[in-house]
Amino acid sequence: MRNRIRELRVERGWSQADLAEKLEVSRQSVNAIETGKYDPSLPLAFKLSRLFGRRIDAMFDDGMEIRA
């Protein structure tokens, strides 16, 4: 899944280690999420949402469109 985590992190001048510390996960986890190798669970996505002050759907894009 594509996401804007790296972009949002760099905007704030945080390193991967800084973000990992704030999320209480390993830097390896942050890197895996940023590179799209791992999609976080809903609780971790909410943590990211609160940290960056963005809605989850504004940070993650699954490439699907909702049809009415």
Partner: protein, 145 residues
């Protein structure tokens, strides 16, 4: 490499450190119990209940090892790290079972002699370590751009 290991250790979660220490302790316990039991049986050939009890002794450190892994899976707060270790466990189970089945067939057909005791157990943990290493390399963090 030493620096890398030190960094990894410092950055490991509390659960991962507990897992590593627990594995070292239980593996050491396993080796001690197996060697101790074998030496005892060499000097004091046993039969019946005593033999069954002595043969069951290595089960305890082995079950403790699995309990340590189970407690780790329950207490790990880093979901990605947990996923990596679950993958390693499943991979190791697959390797151990596949090896056991394949060798079992060959043994059944008389193509190979019987294996040394605990061979599957050793294969399982070697496979776990190897798969873990492959994943560590696959998800290696090179820069912090």
């Amino acid at each position: 490499m030493t620096y890398e290991f030190g960094w990894q250790w410092r950055r490991s979660t509390k659960a991962a450190k507990t897992l590593a220490l627990g594995m070292i302790l239980t593996m050491s316990g396993f080796v001690l119990v197996v060697v101790g039991t074998s030496m005892f049986l060499d000097r004091h050939p046993s039969q019946g209940t005593q033999l069954v009890v002595l043969a069951a002794l290595p089960l305890f450190p082995m079950l403790c090892m699995l309990a340590v892994v189970g407690m780790y899976l329950q207490s790990e707060t880093d979901e990605f790290q947990r996923l990596v270790r679950v993958r390693s466990l499943l991979g190791a189970i697959a390797v151990a079972l596949a090896t056991n089945f394949f060798a079992g067939m060959l043994r059944g057909l008389g193509a190979i002699p019987s294996w040394p005791p605990f061979a599957e157990f050793v294969i399982f943990w070697f496979a776990f370590g190897a798969i873990q290493l492959v994943q560590v390399l696959a998800y290696r963090v090179r820069d912090d751009a």
